[in-house]
């Protein structure tokens, strides 16, 4: 309980540190181009770094088999979202696919 609040407090401080410094400094000059490129690429690297191990690593081992429901769910959500389907609809369909495959398996 208190551990969770500690984490939330730390998250709040960390996030504030991403918002306030540049804002309060009233930066007039744009950031250097390489820094801008880096900040743009960070979410593109972090999100797959988060998501793909959740899909492919089970109990410390690779789960690349087609019997892994999460693999199918991942393919579904990725293709739907890339085709411009609304985020929540894409996620809902993928979740349904995973639930169905688990029920069958």
């Amino acid at each position: 309980m208190s551990r969770v609040w500690l984490v939330i407090g730390g998250m709040a401080v960390a996030t504030y540190l991403t918002r306030a410094p540049m804002f309060l400094a009233l930066a007039r000059r744009p950031l250097p181009p390489r820094v801008r490129l880096w900040l743009r690429l960070v979410p593109l690297a972090v999100l797959p770094a988060l998501a793909v191990p959740l899909v492919l690593v089970r109990d410390g081992r690779l789960a690349l088999g087609l019997a892994n429901p999460a693999l199918w769910g991942a393919a579904v959500v990725f293709v739907l979202a890339a085709r411009g389907v609304n985020l929540l609809a894409s996620v809902a369909v993928a979740v349904a696919v995973v639930a169905l495959l688990r029920a069958l398996g």
Binding site: R34, L37, V57
Partner: protein
């Protein structure tokens, strides 16, 4: 539209209303996004107060989605906090772009306004005018933050109703949200390179590193390599993770 002088001398009701109205189209999806977060957070073991407290104090949807399964898995607090920081680093870009529009505001207000920097309001304000208007931005931030927090509140109430969420595949909602957020951001061929590189490195590290450190390490390493080695693009805006 108000000029910079008007914006810095006092509140501008017209621009404030403009920003609010322009954001109404986004309100339903932000509300639903918040309610999905609230529901999943409660199912993962957070109390409604914790889910709501996180949404008010952190107020950055994508990073909250990231943190909840880590909290549920008892990941080291430092790993969770650092991961949150990295996921939210895009705010630096938005803050730098917005800052000049807020010249003339008192510092204590700036310190407060900084907290509500969010992807949607940034997009609304930048789409309306260059440089973005401070009051349009504030009107939008009011609509978006209200919708998000209200959505979380409703979600925490509903989330408690579902027993055994994994039976409905709801645990998969977390990676699914992340993958959808990546899919809509891949525009250039080099974006794919960065995303796939990070995924491969993260999987490899996840097999050997304890405690979810693979996220921060792979995310920072591959994005930094990309920024050093890839040709500069013409991007001036953060793509951001949509909340």
């Amino acid at each position: 539209m108000t000029g910079p002088a008007a914006a810095s001398s006092g509140p501008s009701g017209g621009a404030l209303r403009d920003g609010l109205v322009a954001s109404l189209a986004l309100v339903p999806s932000v509300f639903v996004y918040g309610s999905v977060f609230g529901g999943l957070a409660v199912q993962a073991g957070l109390t409604p107060a914790q889910a709501l407290g996180m949404s008010v104090l952190v107020f950055a949807g994508a990073s909250q989605f990231v943190a909840v399964p880590m909290i549920a898995a008892s990941a080291p607090p430092l790993a969770i906090i650092l991961t949150t920081y990295v996921v939210n680093m895009r705010h630096y870009l938005m803050a730098a772009t917005l800052a000049p529009s807020f010249r003339g505001f008192r510092r204590r207000w700036l310190a407060l306004i900084a907290h509500v920097i969010n992807d949607e309001s940034f997009a609304v304000a930048v789409a309306r005018s260059r440089p973005p208007d401070a009051w349009v931005y504030l009107g939008s931030a009011a609509a978006i933050s209200g919708a998000f927090v209200a959505g979380v509140a409703v979600g925490t109430a509903l989330g408690g109703l579902v027993e055994r969420p994994e039976r409905y595949g709801l645990d998969f909602a977390f990676p699914a949200v992340f993958l959808a957020l990546v899919a809509v951001q891949l525009r250039r061929r080099t974006d794919w390179l960065v995303a796939i590189g990070a995924a491969v490195l993260a999987v490899a590290l996840a097999l050997v590193l304890p405690g979810n450190w693979h996220i921060v390490v792979a995310g920072l390493t591959v994005s930094a390599l990309g920024a050093l080695l890839l040709p500069l693009d013409d991007t001036t805006e953060p793509t951001g993770t949509r909340r």
